[in-house]
């Protein structure tokens, strides 16, 4: 343990209102603490500079999955295990189910939360690409107001998020797919080994094929830029076109230019770029099938 444990405070508010009250009255002082699967690792390593935390893990207002006719609302404290066990959510949002199953280990999945993952804003996270493909929206609440924000507008840079110091994520909302359409969906996480791996590249994508043409394509990636992101330029090139080899080449060139992979402890920029291009090709195989 490389941190001085007695210097860390963890408040235990009795409900959401009390938590938000603390966060606004002492603006910027208290940071939310959910499942701890990211923060406790930093604590152990002596890298957790924030000392004051507010425990939100027990707040029931942030739990639960609600199915409405047009949306599924996933409480911010929904764990990956709860995602995997929800029949409708996994059936209608298979990429999210895949992402949850590939996150850490079962022990991590039992504790880690979607909201915590979103707020932590790691560029290598596994669920965010799926959430981006599904046009997720976040409900952000403070003691004075609540607002909805499209998830794709959540970042301004590496670990820079649009969450104010007095706000919590209450839920993540995804629009349910229309039953009229058949989606082709693709998710692949490439790591060093087959389990408990931080991704080197993570690729999530979905599209419809309508009269041999690509419609409503969404492509999101992790670990190839300072944030997780939607490959908007690549989507534009592909939209309305047929999935031919020449379109693939053009799309790969666009994708290579759109991403900004780096050399780091885990992998190289070159590997990440080439693999991103190859995973796009795999997605194309699915579209051409």
């Amino acid at each position: 343990m490389r941190s001085y444990i007695p210097s860390y405070e963890l408040l235990a508010p009795c409900d959401l209102a009390a938590a938000l009250q603390n966060m606004s009255s002492e603006y910027g002082t208290w940071k939310p603490f959910a499942g701890g699967t990211d923060l406790m690792v930093l604590l152990e390593a002596g890298k957790l500079s924030q000392r004051k935390f507010i425990n939100i893990y027990g707040l029931t207002e942030l739990r639960g999955i609600e199915v409405t006719p047009h949306h599924i609302l996933v409480g911010a404290l929904t764990t990956y295990t709860e995602v995997r066990r929800h029949e409708t959510l996994t059936r209608e949002f298979p990429l999210l189910a895949r992402a949850a199953a590939e996150t850490g280990s079962i022990a991590t999945q039992n504790r880690g939360t979607l909201g915590g993952n979103v707020a932590n804003a790691s560029p290598a996270a596994d669920s965010p690409p799926a959430l981006l493909v599904y046009d997720a929206e976040l409900e952000l609440v403070s003691s004075s107001c609540s607002r909805w924000l499209p998830y794709r507008d959540f970042w301004s840079g590496y670990k820079q998020v649009a969450l104010r110091p007095d706000e919590l994520i209450r839920c993540i909302r995804v629009p349910r797919p229309s039953k009229a359409h058949h989606w082709r969906q693709y998710y692949r996480k490439v790591g060093t080994r087959r389990a408990q791996a931080i991704s080197k590249v993570c690729f999530a994508a979905a599209a419809r094929i309508d009269s041999h043409r690509i419609r409503d394509v969404r492509i999101a990636l992790a670990s190839v830029a300072p944030t997780v992101f939607r490959a908007a330029e690549t989507e534009k090139i592909m939209e309305g076109e047929s999935p031919t080899p020449s379109l693939l080449r053009a799309a790969q060139e666009t994708l290579a230019a759109e991403i900004a992979p780096i050399d780091d402890i885990r992998s190289t920029a070159y590997y990440r770029r080439r693999v991103s291009e190859n995973l796009l090709a795999e997605f194309f195989d699915l579209l051409s099938a």
């Binding site: 701890g36 690792v41 390593a45 280990s105 087959r194 389990a195």
Partner: protein, 167 residues
């Protein structure tokens, strides 16, 4: 460095017994169990939630206790390796580990057995792939996992019949 946190009281149940301790809110539950509850069966292998040697059950869910702050154990129903065997006999998984070589140096074994027991509670007849997935958060450096898989398959077989009395 300043000591700004005050110790808190945490009340929980461990292996069926009530436990009340005073500790710092962010102290890892692993340390609390080992040092204050004197349950040293759960081990620290990495401190980063990778190796699973610290695995316990909280309210029936498998978790890495090195990543749980003590405050969040309030009201929890906890099971550690010491709570797997009953008064009279070893669990089927423990017995199978003995006969089928599931433990070598033994340091990963408590967490591994918790993971296996937890898996079999959720899925009494796991496939080979499901066994591997169930254990993927528990690293072993000695066995190559082969005899751990064999032990779990054996345990499944025996769970359909009554287990042998404690030898």
């Amino acid at each position: 460095m300043s000591e700004s946190a005050h110790k808190i009281s945490v009340h929980c149940t461990v292996n069926g017994r009530a436990l009340s301790i005073e500790t710092y809110p962010m102290a890892p539950l692993l340390d609390v169990l080992r040092e204050q509850a004197h349950l040293t069966g759960t081990k620290e292998g990495c401190g980063e939630g990778e190796c699973g040697a610290c695995a316990i059950e909280i309210d029936g869910l498998l978790v890495n206790s090195c990543l749980v702050p003590a405050l969040q154990a309030e009201g929890a129903k906890i099971r550690t390796i010491e709570g797997v065997a009953t008064e009279n006999q070893l669990d089927a998984v423990q017995q199978a580990f003995l006969t089928h070589g599931g433990a070598q140096c033994g340091i990963c074994t408590p967490g591994m057995i918790l993971a296996a027991v937890n898996l079999l509670q959720r899925n009494a007849h796991p496939s080979d792939l499901e066994i591997r997935e169930g254990l993927a958060g528990n690293l072993c450096r000695c066995t190559g996992y082969t005899k751990i898989f064999a032990s779990i398959v054996e345990a499944c077989r025996n769970m359909q019949q009554p287990t042998e009395p404690r030898t």
